[in-house]
Symmetry: D2
Subunit: 497 residues, 4 copies
């Protein structure tokens, strides 16, 4: 172990400094206004632009990775406005060669065939994409590009000219984060704390309160799996939390409670016949639009079947984030569309305070469902239960129609081939649960044997495959065009406003 | 451990079979002629085409990975001609939508700006690229696509219509095998045998004769590093073999000899001041055109500097694969271009058998250098030495000019920023060495401090930076326009035929 | 993925049960009273005894590991009193064969030589040791034996007959946990949470308040290393916490504070010239008497020197757990042994409340040092400082004498070859710090170049090597026999009561 | 990357040198004759003795590990005779304190109880054991002690005074290599070459010819497992080679043949119902007497059952190394003990060349079985088959009797609880197979359900559990006292000479 003297150390620093200066001079040299200016005197935004140009311009790549590293460092230091200016520079510059592209476009228009199409594609690829690929060569490059896109996404409204840069980044990420490159990993108490800390931060569905809370999620009767990419070690892209249960879990709070002794947890795991996916969180804002959830769920089903052959069914316990919002609009726009039964009207009226008696039907229902802490009033809660559950079923079954809208969580799972299995009253009694969906949660069942068929009819026909129990709920919707349950109908327009 | 009965096993097989049949039916169902035909009765080529179409067509991707897996299996089983037919199908189909592309081309021609350029780029991307990305989703997908391209490359001459497929694959590989995703790994005697076996197979410069020979290459005074990609575990992309020496090694056979005791090897490693890169092998034909060598060498230099701070210089010991071929053409085309000195003429004549005496100059030189086992005749070898070394220097120095040609190994290292350091007489006495370059080998020196500058003048001006010793050799080339050594001259056209 | 039916599962359970019954029958069969009794009916203590006997008795070891596993399970289930009874059974039984041992003893007494000594050693080894070695064969055996000893240690006073069992266990552990088998590992934020959780639990010097607090201990300017044994994966045996500082740290609270930004931490690490070992915790009560601390510190010094060549000194910041207790006894037994200077007397009297004025000297000093929160009274604290620091120096310097006594922490570090470097006033302002040593902490310096020499004089002569500063403190002790600072004196009896 | 100057390097060497000199001086200082002699001038044997004494003498262990390291280096350099002299020094010195041991022996003789026994055991433990434990503290210490014992074992005959040292080492190894500390690892083509190379070297039953041959042993239809100890990474202690087959393999050559395509190997593995243990090799001579084989086989059975649930039986294919030697002695000592049947006599006479016709019975049999390449004479081989197989069965069945003797391989497997399943004629047609056992090999069946019972009767009664087929062979042995098959007989003296 050679012991370097302090002098030696500073000479290393010195060397690095002078190397950077030399690199800078090389770059600035090329006819630039800064040829004689030491790099530290050049404004950072100008340096970033010069470095980007140099990075793309380097023919032989002798110092490509070095420039990429330096560019990454400079960009990181840019002030907010400068950074946006740099992004604009990337977005508006680095366009394809106009002459070449014009020729290729003309040739294609004259004779559209495989060859002219290929040439046109080649000519139209913006050099920006190659620049972004080179920026990826530096250590930490991928993370740095993801951070760039995350920032971009927040600026697109005010700076729409950044869209082309966003589009290139999404295109690259789609290629780099191809399913074939992702690694599934189990996350448990043996996982490094640095990763677990991120799980705490990234959990987006049922907040993790701290390390003790996390521990419950990783107990013997729980499982957690995530996708990781080799270029981002220790950084989960998406993860799913699973509870091992007997039968379908209908409420999430019992799954989150911490007061189960470890012996009991082990016994529960051994006796489980069902895996409940109760939370799925995307971790990387910069990867928006690059989808992993479908693959993750299906691969986790395979992992669990191998580890625990006694598992018989795989299901989510999911929120319905759109339900309340949808109901409010529906009552406003179509107050008479969803009549209640006479018994329901009676029950609601019976529990309603006097001042609301002028309202009826779903308007009354909604009014009561907005009242403070109605869940602490058993009679009121009971009166709300049946109509809300039925309306929720109707809303979800309508999520299949091709028009945009419907519940996003429902569209995700149904699009994956899951079946709408059960609507659970008071499935989530946390404030957010009441706020979003009057406490209702839903089970979407992943049955490996029918996933493709379910997916097919959902994508092709917008038909939502569901259990008989849900079918019965839907059948009770007292509307003339309730054809939703008939597969042959092809469409499920019902309830869509 | 539940003991599955034989019946259970076959029912699993049955399930898998019926799953595949079902998948097939789903795919064939879509208006195809094969809707009622069991998959096993459909010709494999048709199945491959149907699966490819289905893979790209799947909107919701419920079974994307499953189809990709099945497609990979079917393609693997195709007979040769069928496989080419399938490749043609991929290459000629999956074109961009003509209407949309025509509109985008027209719009760009009308007003070429950032937005129309982006839209044209989007419209021109062939769906084939997305298809290839989806084929990558199956386990082993990347390796399978690389094998496809390797096969393609051998067919391009006879089937030029495959070029667009090749182009798409190279584009994808360039993105996937970005430097930022590669992992450098040391290869030594602790490396799994499965990897070492590939090193034996892939070594392309100095053949490895078997495990004992390999062992020498991994001894304490040797190093070996390779690049690996996370999607191809255990599969080197490129590797370099390094010898630790005192001073520049001038010949390769001493580096390959096996009779050095281990204690000596350890002592040599401890005393080494030089790292000699004596072999660099690209392993994956399917990645042709995606370049790693430059990065690998530079990263290995960093690794070695950290591990062995006593190293002072980093150099290759490289072949000159083009020298003999070049000399033969040059003597034929320009017999008088490179006069020998009177002493050289005299010496050659003195050792030449009578029947050759009518020849003189380089014609005589070449004649003698082609004679059987001339190296076993000391006088002859001595007479050949000086003129051949000088001519080789001239050939290499000319490799920098911008026109194609020159020595490919020289162009690679000089383009990386290395310096032409030394021409070694009898540096490789293996048959291949004599056959290619009369036994000459060359040191290219990688000096971290001048790599960028060297690279710059090489790429920009075609100037070959070299040591004073090489400069002296070149200066002796008795030709009027020998300006090669003058840096200011900017060009080095000399000796190029 | 054979799917086992529930029936299959229970038949596995059945098989395991019947296997255990069969094993039990085999064991009980041997002339025991329980031959016909099903194992579940036999009292657990009796089962444990039978199994222990069977484990040792098995000649061919066909089911040795199985019996060890079963024994471990049974012992774990024993009630408290039964477990002690089982330990007594182990401790009093399994004695060496009396006849053979008598003969060997007689032979040795008749002619004491190497051969008779060896035979006597063989004959006297209690079969209990072999039994314990066999108990170690089951998975988790080592941990289980350590738990046994931990429990034993708490019972030795009330059940002295267990001492022989304790002695055998310590002997085995001394052999198994030989330095050659220990693995040093760095503990940081990449360490599995399961290990970090144990660090929180085991920290014995400066309590870790939770995960955030732990994080500070593992920040960029901190290091933590532990010893692990291959048979106890994930279970630290001992660990040390290190702070990287500039110069010797004199107080521990600044090292524990959490409000240093990460960038600052990194800068501090880069600038550090000193490594401060501020906490060393033994984790395993069951290993009492098997010492690792010395090795750990020295190996960590080596690790740190390699990682951070800029480190110049290695020192502890240690408590003096015995100081207050010692001072109280000393004042009681020898009230006049350590006179204060006139100035000190005056200063103390000046700050003392009236009611204490009848006391003088160390009695007054102690009285004041016991007063409530004296540290919040600057004048009082200042008056206490000098005499307390000096007395502490004296106490520590006397820790070297051969008699038992002295400060245990001092004896540990001085015995390792460290030097008594500095006495720090108000080095630990936590309640425990005041309670134990009036807030004083000490630096013991590990200077690799003088460790052996320091150790040598400490062990041979009881001489405590110390810095000139400490020497000056000691010289001020106004006692006639203060020869402690004279190395030649050989002894350092001073201050020992 | 501090770049150390050459001066810096040599100053490091200097420091190390002076550190060693200082250590030596410290050691030699203690009243030794070498106090003023530089260590390099002291004869190595003397240095080794001094270091050993110092290592044990160090009270505080400040430099324990350093001395251990130095001692290990010095011992390694000792010449042969000096090394034996050093071993003798260890063996004859480091005896227990005579006075203390005499007192303890006297006390025990006066009153033999648990306490006096414990004290006697303590007093009799030779300090040599502690010395050996301390020698283990240096890196590589365990390997070095194992090498010491390996060398010792070869000297015990000529130097019986070394036995006590050997005994101490075996005792330590028995403790250190306790089953609880061993790790089972699968060995395959992913294993580092450094380990595989050792497998080639250590294979003791069916020689491995090189890397290609090794590859066959690790093919998809083969398994290989070894035990490793954490202190000897990369060093197998014992390993077993397994073939996956359908039904019991009766001959070893088909298992070793290399011309099976990989696809076939995979199919064979998938169809296998039997695991054949065809080779078990102990790797470490220094661990002689410390037994692992039993544990390894049983743990491999568990591993295989988990990986391949379709396996139905586990069996060896083993040599009978003692058979020919036993038969030759038996024919000599008891020529009439084992009469052949009339048909056998007739068949042998018919194929015998004239010169042998004066012999009959087993004498004739043996004579013919010794003839050159008899296996190439079908009639001769056929005539030999039945009587040799039967006699071999008899020999093996007699291996259970308590007296020493019998076949060592049989005793090992039968002692583990295996069943003698089948005698295979021409099971090993390699020269060694014919030389040892006329080509006969044996299957010992490990049936998890009857292992303990088999073991029990073998160890207690010497009864050899065997298949009905073997029983029938034994029944044909025409001798009056053939009670071997009757379990009640308790003994199996038959055929023992």
């Amino acid at each position: 172990m050679a012991t370097a003297s302090p002098t030696a150390t500073s000479s290393v620093t010195l060397q690095r400094r002078s190397w950077l200066e030399r690199l800078w001079t090389t770059i600035a040299d090329r006819g630039s206004a800064y040829a004689d200016v030491p790099s530290s005197a050049v404004p950072p935004l100008d340096r970033a632009r010069q470095l980007a140009t140099a990075l793309l311009g380097e023919k032989g790549e002798a110092s490509g990775a070095a420039i990429a590293r330096e560019l990454q460092a400079v960009v990181k230091e840019l002030e907010g406005a400068d950074r946006v200016a740099f992004y604009s520079y990337l977005a508006s510059g680095f366009l394809p060669d106009e002459k070449r592209l014009r020729e290729a476009a003309t040739a294609y228009l004259a004779d559209a065939n495989a060859e002219t199409a290929t040439q046109l594609a080649d000519a139209s690829e913006p050099p920006r994409q190659e620049l972004l690929r080179r920026m990826n060569m530096s250590p930490g490059g991928t993370a740095s590009l993801m951070a760039m896109r995350k920032e971009l996404l927040g600026k697109l409204n005010e700076a729409p000219e950044l869209k082309s840069l966003d589009s290139d980044l999404r295109h690259l990420f789609g290629s780099w984060f191809n399913r074939g490159f992702l690694q599934i990993r189990r996350i448990d108490w043996q996982t490094p704390a640095a990763v677990l800390e991120k799980i705490i931060t990234y959990e987006a569905v049922h907040e993790i309160q701290g390390w003790e809370d996390l521990r419950r999620r990783l107990a013997p009767d729980r499982r957690c799996f995530g996708f990781f990419h080799p270029a981002l070690p220790g950084e989960p892209l998406i993860f799913v939390e699973v509870a091992l249960t007997r039968g379908l879990a209908s409420a999430v709070q019992p799954l989150l409670t911490r007061d189960v002794p470890e012996e009991q947890q082990k016994a529960d795991a051994a006796n489980a016949d069902t895996a409940i996916f109760y939370s799925i969180s995307n971790c990387q804002d910069g990867l928006r639009g690059v989808s992993f959830g479908n693959f993750l769920i299906k691969q986790v089903v395979e992992e669990l079947k191998t580890e625990l052959p006694s598992l018989r069914q795989f299901s989510t316990l999911s929120p319905v984030p759109s339900f309340r919002r949808w109901l409010e609009r529906r009552v406003k726009d179509h107050p008479d569309a969803d009549p209640l039964t006479a018994e329901e009207e009676f029950a609601l009226t019976a529990v309603a305070p006097t001042q609301r008696e002028e309202k009826t039907g779903t308007a009354l229902l909604l009014d009561l469902a907005r009242s403070d802490e109605w869940w602490n009033n058993p009679a009121l809660a009971e009166a709300l239960r049946e109509p809300l559950v039925r309306l929720c079923a109707g809303h979800l079954v309508a999520s299949g129609s091709r028009s945009r809208g419907g519940d996003p969580v429902a569209r995700f799972h149904l699009g994956n081939g899951a079946r709408l299995e059960r609507i659970n009253w008071l499935g989530n009694t946390a404030p957010r649960g009441f706020r979003e969906s009057f406490g209702i949660m839903v089970n979407y069942l992943y049955d490996p044997d029918s996933i493709e068929a379910n997916h097919e009819v959902f994508v092709r026909d917008g038909y939502v495959v569901r259990s008989p129990a849900v079918d019965m709920l839907v059948a009770k919707l007292n509307v003339p065009d309730a054809k939703m349950s008939a597969r042959g109908s092809g469409k499920a327009r019902l309830l869509k406003s």
